[in-house]
Amino acid sequence: MNDIKKVKKLIIDKPLKLDCGQTISNFPLAYETYGKLNDKKDNAILAFHALTGDQFASGVNPITNKEGWWNYLIGPDKAIDTKKYFVICANVIGGCMGSYGPSNINPKTNKNFGTEFPVLTINDMVNAQYHLLEFFKIEKLFSVLGGSMGGMQVLQFVSNFPNKSETAIPIACTHSHSAQNIALNELGRQSIMADHNWANGFYEENNKTPAKGLAVARMAAHITYLSKKGLQEKFGRKLQERDDLKFGFDADFQIESYLRHQGSVFVDRFDANSYLYITRAMDYFDLSKQFDGNLSKAFEKTNTKFFIISFTSDWLYPTSENREIVIALNSIGKDVGFVEITSDKGHDSFLLNVPDFLNTIKNFLNTSYNKKNEKRI
């Protein structure tokens, strides 16, 4: 974990007033960049990560040595071509890849914050990341994009800063976290809290981690990222390295073994308290409520060009919820495109090699970039 100290960090000295009422200042925001900011500073894209993502969107993550979470999308000659665009991605506050979060030291106690860390919102995350624009002296981003919780950040960003991005691509997300999604997040949190090692969030003092609870949380969540059809096709009732059932509780089925594996690799890279804080922020997200129940009002002041994308087999953030955002934008005459991509890969589709999805983003961004430059001539 020492490597985490080496990641790029912006120390935000300006006080940030959080939605919970507390104010934080002098806090770190870990970030990574890909490509080069051009002289006009008009080619910058801010990518927002989802629940368990981090700033290492492209290339190889130096901490985990695994591929960046959006490596299919972002990189040289990829859909978001980093030879052309400058991509910035930050670890959300509350996260565990170098940004200010529950494993930081609480100056009052000289111990890890644990559950004494303030509860955050999507709004807080976005306001913290806005400082990156000032840091890079970018007057206006070319695009903001993200999937899932990243998409929620896109919506909040445009609402908070209506003239700070030419385009916006919210993907597989919602403007208001549903009861079903709150329930699923609660399942994950309760699983962590039920692990004896969690110790009310102060596990770092004991040098123990609630790995089992976190692994179960991940296993449950992982199912929600896939589709029934996708699971059936990939695993069916296939057995795991055995010819017959063993009449026990070992992983007889491949799907069991797969989920156990997903759980166990996750605990090596993710902090249990961060999982609590970030899922809470998602649950609290309700952009329409911030505007008296009228979502359109969130976008009244913006001229940002939207493109919204959903996936056919995503039951976690279904097309109907994405379409509500399209309707809110159309009803006030804003510029918006919308596509539902056919995919059996469930909510995870936005992270995977789904050619129609990757091409949609590529075409939208490249056309918008060319149009923007035509206008100037």
């Binding site: 309707i327 009803s331 005459g333 510029d335 495109g337 919308f338 596509v339 129609d356 091409n359």
Partner: protein, 184 residues
């Protein structure tokens, strides 16, 4: 490009705001986008066609005109285009009123069932007419509400919708396609 598209494009004023309802693969939108106005977007129900529009770099909203026009506010476009899809809707009357609500003007094209070849086909062969603009058999045609140019003009007159109806009988017999600009 189809001749029909050329005529439609010439009816659209430069720099106006346009919605192409049932924009198909985006061929018409692309032409208008490049030559007339770049403030244009399409509404299309077929995923396959939506991807073709996206590949052309066009702004497209995947959706169903019968359900999704209502999300646009009144007079939010200078022109709303409906090219050869009116007869395929379950409720064309509702679609027409939505077009005229959303657009200041609507450009509507219809395959003309009063075209002389269509009439002759039915008169002498006694079977459902098949022509260039009506290529399907009765059992697989998407067209639910066929009409003639005269029918459409009569409808507009009845509903007090402004429409050009010069040389109606002549056009009704000799045109394969009716192209109209209508407004409230």
């Amino acid at each position: 490009m189809k001749k029909e598209f050329n005529i439609i494009a010439n009816l659209v004023e430069k720099k106006s705001k346009v919605l192409d309802v049932g924009c198909g693969d985006g061929e018409l939108m692309k032409y208008i986008n490049e030559n007339i106005t770049n403030d244009i977007r399409g509404l299309e129900i077929s995923k396959n066609n939506v991807q073709k529009c996206v590949a052309k770099g066009l702004t497209v909203i995947e959706g169903d005109a019968e359900k999704d026009l209502k999300q646009f506010p009144k007079s939010s476009f200078d022109y709303v285009i409906l090219s050869q899809t009116l007869q395929a809707f379950l409720d064309p009357e509702n679609v027409i009123s939505e077009l005229l609500r959303v657009g200041k003007k609507a450009i509507v094209t219809i395959p003309n069932f009063g075209y002389w070849k269509v009439r002759i086909h039915l008169l002498f062969r006694g079977t459902m007419p098949i022509t260039k603009d009506l290529p399907n058999e009765w059992y697989n045609t998407p067209n639910l509400h066929m009409c003639t140019i005269k029918d459409f003009v009569n409808y507009c007159n009845k509903k007090n919708i402004k429409i050009n109806s010069k040389n109606l009988s002549y056009k009704n017999l000799f045109s394969q396609l009716g192209i109209f600009v209508i407004e409230k």
